[in-house]
Symmetry: D2
Subunit: 371 residues, 4 copies
């Protein structure tokens, strides 16, 4: 024999877009054992004062309160400060625009003609830092020949040491743009300063937000105000929810073009530079429509492990692979040790192409080039 | 206006001891959005087939099921395999005998006359391994003079390398016992093999289960069958719940004499050997009646940080401090680098005694010695 | 202009087997800045007293000491206890028999006719726990038809709760053996108690040492005394070096048949049960000749992520995949939620077989069955 | 018998300030076993081409190269890209101005009259966010009466959700300044945008850089260009070296006024919000002259654990304690659940004052108020 209680929902006015997701139970409060009647009353008053409906279920020893309303107006953890509340359990995810509920089909992001997502693979390659034009031209030619469809290089480098090479700045942007144009490859570069977002967006096709800036909300807001595709790298201690919340920052500013990137999280084993969380790829796909690629260069920090991890990422369902390539790693201005040589990259691309074929996916052709 | 549903509880027969804790809501199931009527019915049937009562709350978009009954008969995670279940939320902790609900006052454990817990501090000191009798005698004399009340030394050593010194075995137990007797100090030693538990229990006053064996359930069961106090060290990747579940193994066998030990968990920064989780001390005290001590020697692996971390542990509410002391660390058979010299230990004990006084606690006197 | 110093090696007698690896610089000591002459002399005396040769390099501000000799006789960390030593840097890995230096070709382990390693893939499948004979027979038939070549099931279960199902014991071993024989599949089961190793080895073809027992050195020693192949799972906070050291325990007892298993390490994101460290697969292959398989069931704890992670593991170079399969996960005695249904397993095996083919590997045929 | 090699140092011109630290062995390279003569020659040429001196030590099986020169000009990891190099071991820390070598005495930072460091304790208290003036005035009065000497409140809030309260902005700065002035308490507030640094510096006495911005090097550079004291919080996955490198960014811009803050790192146990790394306090003191305080509010996220962790931090040697205080946590605009009530704070301050006295330290008096 079952005991039933049907929740009756109030007439809360909601933005049309969210109404189908949000008109629902959003949070469950478990009250402390031994909570007093006055405390229960206070909890219910408090929830209603915040503009939500409360639904009380009273057991012999434990009482729970269901909260109904627009969660985007609610910070669940704040509820745990109400006296008598033992545990706060959010039922809905805190991100909306990034969720599968908001957009059940995989998004396909267009990076100046190169499609990413929905079976289209991004193959991003290039040196860590933008270097001199000749070297950039040479590397671009080699990675393009190997099958890369997006060319990368950093002009503004976030370096842990103030004494390390900080990038060529606007001069680097210019070199990157010119080399990209020559080889018909759209370009990707990192932006680190909210004051530079517009400048970088003029020169480059895709704006990278690096792992250390994943929760730099000021920067996220600025890149969200452009329409440039954003490559958002996962922070080293960011959960998948954190990553999607940072994507939500960009999306909520009106820029829907976000590509996520798993690049390793902090681990305890110094055998690799970071811990490559390959399961994040399929896990994101159960929650979000946004494409997600992998970066085995930063994830491992070891060229000898990059090919295996690139294959693993693709096999796990990634929408692309980001790899640093340099023709003379020992001369690289930064992060040389984690770069592949152009020949190694070409060999890996051969394997990745075969694997993509097996998985029913394909590397997006360059704009203006027949597939 | 509030919606109420009172849970009516069935007449489930329960052991008298647990009845006040267990006759309660134990688990909440959140069903998937879009769950079918058939699936809901199946969930309810399944819960009742397991011998529990189900309580259904149906919202417009989400449905939840409260489960009532004796949680000790339930493995909450198994419920997540029922089709239509999205999330399983345990309400009650999975340990019973170790919980504050079962025993609201702090336990005081008696180690052959030395009290631990409830304001009585254990000061455990001695070398990592039992070494020759002369050295043991010398160190025991020094740590006793400094104020230690339990003497430690390992006869069976769990070493990561099969080529490293593995301990003196029974000969070591004999040395430890004889030296302890001479100095009137109860002894602590590690047990690693379920076949040796009885042997070790004959020689020593307190059985240590090391971090690497915290989830060696066979060993926990054996030490639970003795009445010897157990020093249970937290595993390097064990949550506080895991630690209390391991204590529950010992308690559920009939041995109520468990002292917990925080000794550092796995961290990402090689600056210290482990990450000393000092907040585990007060966190355990909100959940359990068992005493908990700290081990800054293993937590840091650095003698220069031991005094600060010992002070921190005591200030956080620990019921004692475990420190390795050796009179010539460079000659130690194992773990020399994390040992204090006897002089350093004496100086630290001076500070710890002052801090204990400030906190209204005291170092337990040796048996047969006036406080 | 370069400054050279050639090390002259002493005539240290070494076991023939190790001589080519060990007659080398094994450890570097960096002394503290401002170290006194007396301390330097003492360091050198101490190193020589331990039976090693010391090689001093003196800079203006820093002095370093190279140590030459048989590292298997040395616990490097103990050297850091010598006054004046600032840092100890091991040059050689602490494991020998498990290292590529000892055995440069990949090992191929024979599990009663099923080859593992060197291009031969182990596909281990079956329920978490051994259950009733009919169910075991049914599942074995299904996973065998799907292509599994080793059948698993736990008779002795290490459960975090003392109140949870602990396995059927010897009765379970008998069921597993009988079902395996009927289907011509060698069997894998976990051993948790050193007193049971012989018993388990009589019934089963491969002995699993679980993650929680990876540093249960007593158990490792016992399984090392059999000749049964051992499936050694990585502990949740074990580094790759720790894992190889545990393998070394088994190897050093005379049992060369060790298969490693990556099954996820402790992570900070509750999105998955553990953090699947896929990079451990290629990382192990740069260090050791032992095969390594992956277990996406325990690594993720989520059936919806298992296929992607199984593919990732194989793509990264794993020598096999361990997957829990149950025909009715909600009725499973343990860990139901992380099991695949037989149909899902068959579909995944189809993809894994294609991927294996692409990688030039193949699933080992069952003994007595043509490939 | 010992083998000696004395390094002869070249005449490398160095800035006077660094000469005593840097004219030393900075990096050791361990070459691969089996490295060829050509590779060795290339390594040496490469090191010299970078402007360093190389010192070769050749063993029978392993060869090592010591590198001498100004490490601030060297990115050690780049050396690992040179063919034949197996391992790169930095000998000197990568930070200079933050190191004890540069400044052997503890720094004392003056925050508009309140001293921090060298035995002077900062007691920072206030709500998470700046709220309305009446509430701010009330809380300031209460924490001042309890003994706090710096008043905090956030006007620009880095929130994980774009839909959460983002702070009052400049209006908040004005409220904070006015309330601080009225109570004669210098103020602390977070800065998140490099474009706002000047603005915030005009209103407030101490600029906080939050954990999520610890490696926002653009922001660090901007706060380094002011002379305002900086409260630099440790990032959730930052090592102690990372933290000191971020401090180096500020110091290298000419602002010597940095106070570090341990506020918990990412851990695997959800029992606490973060893992309070109390050992970081004494560990920093072995490396740096900068003061370090603790923030148990963010470290634990649980008011019931804050007092124990505040005591632990002070006992471990912290130069102050940062605690969030709110007179009605359930109404707090942000992070209410981790705030203490004013009465709880007063009680804790009583205990902290006694502990400070025991440790020979004292809470810095307010400016213009007799101690």
């Amino acid at each position: 024999m079952l005991h039933e209680a049907t929740m009756r929902l109030g007439q809360i006015p909601l933005p049309a877009f969210f109404s189908s997701i949000l008109l629902a139970l959003t949070v469950i409060l478990i009250l402390k054992s031994g909570v007093s009647e006055d405390q229960v009353t206070h909890v219910l008053e408090r929830v209603e004062a915040l503009g939500f409906q409360a639904h009380l279920s009273r057991g012999t020893y434990r009482t729970i309160v269901g909260i109904i309303g627009d969660e985007s107006q609610l910070t669940p953890e704040s509820l745990s400060a109400i006296p008598g509340v033992s545990k706060v359990i959010p039922v809905l995810p805190p991100y909306k625009l990034a969720s599968l509920e908001a957009h059940p089909e995989p998004s396909v992001i267009d990076v100046s003609g190169v499609k990413v997502g929905g079976g289209h693979l991004a193959m991003i390659a290039g040196p860590c830092s933008v270097e001199d034009p000749e070297r950039m031209d040479r590397i671009a030619g080699l990675v393009r020949a190997a099958g890369a469809n997006l060319f990368r290089g950093g002009a503004f480098k976030p370096r842990t040491s103030p004494y390390a090479f900080q990038g060529l700045g606007e001069e680097g942007l210019r070199i990157l743009r010119d080399v990209g144009r020559k080889h018909q490859m759209p370009t990707v570069t990192e932006v680190t300063d909210p004051r530079n977002v517009e400048l970088v967006a003029e020169y480059c096709d895709m704006l990278q937000v690096g792992a250390r800036n994943m929760q730099n909300f000021v920067l996220l807001t600025e890149v969200g105000r452009t329409q440039r595709p954003v490559l958002l790298k996962r922070g080293m201690s960011a959960t998948i929810t954190d990553l999607l919340m940072s994507a939500e920052y960009v999306l909520s500013q009106g820029n829907p073009n976000v590509v996520l990137c798993e690049r390793g999280v902090k681990g305890f084993d110094s055998a690799t530079r970071n811990l490559f969380d390959v399961a994040a790829v399929p896990a994101v796909k159960t929650l979000s429509h946004l494409p997600i690629i992998v970066d085995p260069s930063h994830a491992t920090g070891r060229p000898d492990l990059i090919p295996a991890c690139a294959m693993a990422g693709l096999a796990a369902g990634a929408d692309g692979v980001h790899i640093e390539v340099h023709d003379c790693p020992e001369e690289a201005k930064s992060d040389g040790p984690q770069a592949l040589l152009p020949g190694q990259y070409a060999e890996l691309m051969h394997q990745l192409r075969d694997l993509a074929h097996l998985l029913g996916k394909s590397i997006s052709p360059l704009p203006g080039v027949a597939a």
